[in-house]
Symmetry: C2
Subunit: 229 residues, 2 copies
């Protein structure tokens, strides 16, 4: 990863509730920030480490990765830019609940926690704005939880493919930057199961996929599979 000075007031700060911040507050944030480039596979925030920064994902795609006692990985979310990351780790306790790892090349702005906390305590609209963001992440986690708890693997995998198309790649045709194993960790099943399901859907002309290239051919059937569990 490689650091560059971050003084670009028009870009990323817009996403961070800029309208609610005074010039003074903006320079506090700017002075506590650094822009970093991460390569595919690099860890941006490490599970168990102290949460000393809030990260703003300016460009790229990351996974929220949880490593459990049995050394099995679990992917909690896949998110693409622009997005504030790592707040949930920060606003209550001091160690990171999960890792954040680049699944493709990323540009990330790391902001020191003390600067964010100072603003939160003084600027109500900024706090409120982050409260809304956190609530929205909370909602998404609950929806994901419900999907996991009540659907069969096929429905889970359908959910993931739809999620990737709608919220990550913004297209029904995309170059998948995840391995089959990662898809399995995201849907919490075995990679064999992901492979079987994808190749069956290929035969049934619901998707078309060769290697990393994926195309959703019949979105309605996919949504039906998702709905039926």
């Amino acid at each position: 990863m490689e650091a560059t000075a971050s003084k670009n007031r028009t870009g990323w700060l817009q996403e961070l509730s800029l309208p609610f911040l005074t010039d003074e507050e903006i320079s506090i944030i700017e002075n506590a920030s650094v822009r970093l480039a991460f390569k595919k596979g690099e860890t941006i925030i490490k599970q168990g480490g102290q949460s000393t920064h809030v990260a703003f994902l300016e460009k790229g795609i990351v996974k929220f990765n949880y490593e459990n006692d049995q050394n099995r990985n679990l992917i909690l979310a896949i998110v693409s830019s622009p997005k504030i990351l790592g707040g949930a780790n920060l606003f209550y306790q001091n160690n990171n609940l999960f890792s954040i790892v680049a699944v493709e090349a990323c540009s990330v702005i790391l902001i020191e926690a003390h600067a964010i906390l100072q603003l939160l305590r003084n600027n109500a609209m900024f706090s409120f704005s982050l409260l809304q963001l956190t609530s929205e992440m909370f909602r998404k986690t609950i929806i994901n939880f419900v999907s996991l708890a009540s659907k069969h693997k096929e429905g889970r995998i359908a959910d993931i493919i739809i999620h990737l198309a709608e919220n990550v790649y913004y297209s029904n045709v995309f170059q998948l930057s995840l391995t089959r194993k990662e898809l399995a960790e995201f849907s919490s099943c075995s990679s064999e199961n992901v492979i079987m399901t994808l190749s069956r859907w290929q035969k049934e002309k619901i998707i078309r996929c060769s290697g990393k290239e994926v195309e959703i051919v019949d979105i309605n059937k996919l949504k039906l599979i998702s709905k039926n569990g």
Copy 2:
């Protein structure tokens, strides 16, 4: 349910970040509040309904209940007083993601949303305080998610029993106010599975349970089961 005027400044408002509120702000909240009593089984907040209130659980135990497309219930959380409820439904969108249902007699203070929102926009410490609460709920949901995704049913059920003892009843001996079916909906498995597991543990002297009375005899074995999944 039965309404009474709520003018008791010393009690419940303490929990709602009272230290950060001015006298004027306190009376805004008080004037927008009403205290209600709910019987076991009554719905306090209804899934899909408009989120017009924040609820403060003053006394009692509630479940967060999600009803899915196939009319199967799913319990997201069991929480006991004192606790702010329903914020997550409110701070981002306008309809309730899940229901909140009394599992035993409850006393609840309902606060109109506009009063809370007005405060959030003006009082940074209040917003920050709610941000911390929401983050903590988020954390708990993630931990629950991880448990669901990576553990076998036995580990899940162990998690739930431990959770009930540590965070709901605050004792290793308790009168369970949930049915076996509700335990199943909480651990997302069949009620038969819950029953089998509990009676096996009874034989192995890990717990003692007759009807609604439950006692954890060997907490270490239980934690081991939870850890091993």
